[in-house]
């Protein structure tokens, strides 16, 4: 029994290690990728003993800056709630990773270890629930700041989050209908089937419209450009205003962790998770032709790396979208969420149902 606990702790360590490191690297990648896209070089001046290594010390410099700033609490505000809000933001961003499967079941030393931290039978609902809880951190931050403009910013943010949660949930319904189960593990395994013999039945093949809707709604949920009206990087006053030092760092890192969690969920639902086409747990498997057997550990390693690479690709893609598209105005954003995304998501469900019924 203790061995199970240790194995789960190991899995948590691996996932946390990946997520937190990639979140820090994402803050560097944001500056470098935007620079490369804009024909510039980006931040490359932070050095330790003369070594610059492409500016990779900048996240460390940012962290040191945030840790050494004054930790200010508004004197008239609610100090407990003010401190609670960034913790909530980090918690709800991180806990989503508990249900994302990052590999096939590992058969090692006579044990079957599913490479997923918690195999809950509510699956995707867990993600939607905790994504929805992220809304609390926005509201509590604005409310406890005792600043009218922060409150307005948090109301803006909360309205945006609620509007796009609907589209998020409805597009997930389409995926659940296509694969017949709400558990993420079953959905990822279901993407190993082949349609017409050669096309892997990935989520994007089954639900192309659902993918676009989900990706857009998820970017709006994480308040990422083009939907970043709540705070928009200090161009407009928002709920971050009264936060300094590491509390702001918690919000900021929470945003990057949400980027990775969106990337993880999108790959798990729509891009096959850890599946590599034509690679099954018996080795390279071309349906109808031949099978090349490969050692089990190698297959699992390849699949875990594939998951990591897909997550990194979607992080890259979200950064690309962030630095390409202009920001939505608030009324455009609300109209887009309610009048365009929700009807499209409903149409998606109806069409998926019809196709499922006919075929």
């Amino acid at each position: 029994m203790y061995l199970d606990v240790i194995i789960t702790l190991l899995k948590i360590a691996i996932v946390f290690g990946f997520v937190l490191n990639v979140a820090a690297i994402l803050s560097w990648a944001e500056r470098k990728q935007s620079a490369v896209m804009q024909d510039r070089i980006g931040a490359n001046r932070a050095d330790v003993l003369g070594f610059r290594i492409f500016g990779l010390f900048h996240p460390i410099a940012d962290t040191i800056k945030m840790l050494t700033k004054e930790d200010w609490v508004p004197p008239a505000g609610d100090a407990f709630v003010h401190t609670l809000a960034p913790f909530l933001a980090l918690f709800t961003a991180l806990v989503v990773f508990a249900v994302i499967p990052f590999g096939d079941t590992l058969h090692i030393a006579g044990r079957d270890i599913p490479l997923q931290i918690a195999d809950l039978n509510v699956g995707i609902l867990f993600i939607v629930a905790f994504g929805g809880l992220g809304f609390y951190s926005v509201v509590l931050a604005g409310w406890s700041s005792e600043n009218k403009y922060s409150l307005l910013g948090s109301i803006r943010g909360a309205a945006q989050l609620i509007s796009y949660e609907l589209a998020l949930g409805l597009s997930i319904v389409g995926v659940v209908m296509a694969y017949g189960s709400i558990e993420l593990d079953d959905i990822v395994r279901g993407q190993g089937q082949y349609v017409l013999g050669v096309i892997p039945y990935w989520g994007i093949v089954a639900q192309p419209l659902g993918f676009i809707l989900f990706f857009t709604a998820a970017m709006a949920e994480t308040k990422r450009v083009p939907f970043d009206l709540p705070e928009s990087e200090s161009e407009i006053i928002g709920y971050f205003t009264e936060y300094s030092g590491m509390k702001f760092g918690a919000f900021w890192m929470g945003e990057f962790i949400e980027v990775i969690s969106v990337a993880g969920v999108v790959t798990a639902l729509y891009f096959g998770g850890w599946q590599i086409p034509f690679l099954s747990n018996q080795g390279i498997f071309i349906p109808g032709l031949f099978t090349i057997p490969l050692p089990h550990l190698l297959v699992v390693l390849l699949q875990v790396s594939a998951f990591g690479l897909k997550v990194l690709f979607f992080c890259w893609f979200m950064l690309l979208v962030r630095w390409t598209l202009p920001r939505f105005r608030y009324d455009q954003l609300m109209a887009f969420g309610w009048k365009f995304m929700v009807p499209l998501a409903l149409v998606n469900i109806v069409v998926t149902g019809l196709i499922k019924y006919v075929f």
Partner: protein, 191 residues
């Protein structure tokens, strides 16, 4: 000039294809620049720039011939400064940043010399009027250097001892007498 626009076509009004086109443009820039960054790391294609950034202070953008930088006081062939403390530059300076204290020069052909010549860089607006006003080929702004950041007002007050030691930037030198030498044969900038 009449600006002609058009209403959105049906395909454009979906915005999706337009967004995809925009994403493709930035992806193209990304792929192109990333390719050349990696090529630079491997030592290939050094002449193709992967970014338009000029890494100051290691690289500098080339300056024009008439660029006005830090001041210098030109020197006679015997090494003494050419300035005769006529106060023309101090008078014409629009922000009154030059302060000269004159003294008597033993040579009656050169009547005065500056005992102290100070330029307050915190006030200088780099207009070049002092350079134009000097009648004896003494004050020039052709060193091609920018004022360095200083940590005190003393650092940003340029005195005569410092100003006589500056040298012109080759290619920007505008004085008709080279520093420490007599008249030059040709117009230095070819104007």
């Amino acid at each position: 000039m009449k600006i002609v626009g058009h209403n959105l076509t049906t395909k454009e009004s979906f915005y999706f294809f337009e967004i995809a086109k925009g994403l493709w443009i930035t992806s193209r820039h990304f792929i192109y620049n990333m390719y050349f960054h990696i090529a630079h790391l491997l030592g290939k294609y050094p002449e193709v720039p992967a970014a338009v950034t000029v890494q100051y202070p290691e690289e500098k953008i080339p300056l024009s011939k008439r660029w006005r930088g830090r001041h210098r006081i030109n020197a006679r062939p015997d090494g003494s400064p050419r300035c005769v403390a006529c106060m023309l530059c101090e008078t014409v300076c629009p922000v009154q940043c030059i302060h000269i204290v004159a003294g008597e020069h033993p040579d009656p052909a050169i009547e005065k010399y500056p005992v102290s010549f100070e330029i307050d860089v915190t006030r200088c607006c780099w207009c070049g009027m002092c350079e134009e006003a000097c009648p004896v080929d003494a004050l020039y702004m052709d060193t091609g250097k920018t004022p360095e950041p200083g940590f005190s007002r003393e650092d940003l007050l340029y005195r005569k001892e410092q100003l006589v030691k500056e040298l012109p930037l080759p290619g920007c030198q505008r004085s008709l007498n080279a520093p420490g030498q007599g008249p030059m044969e040709a117009n230095p900038l070819g104007l």
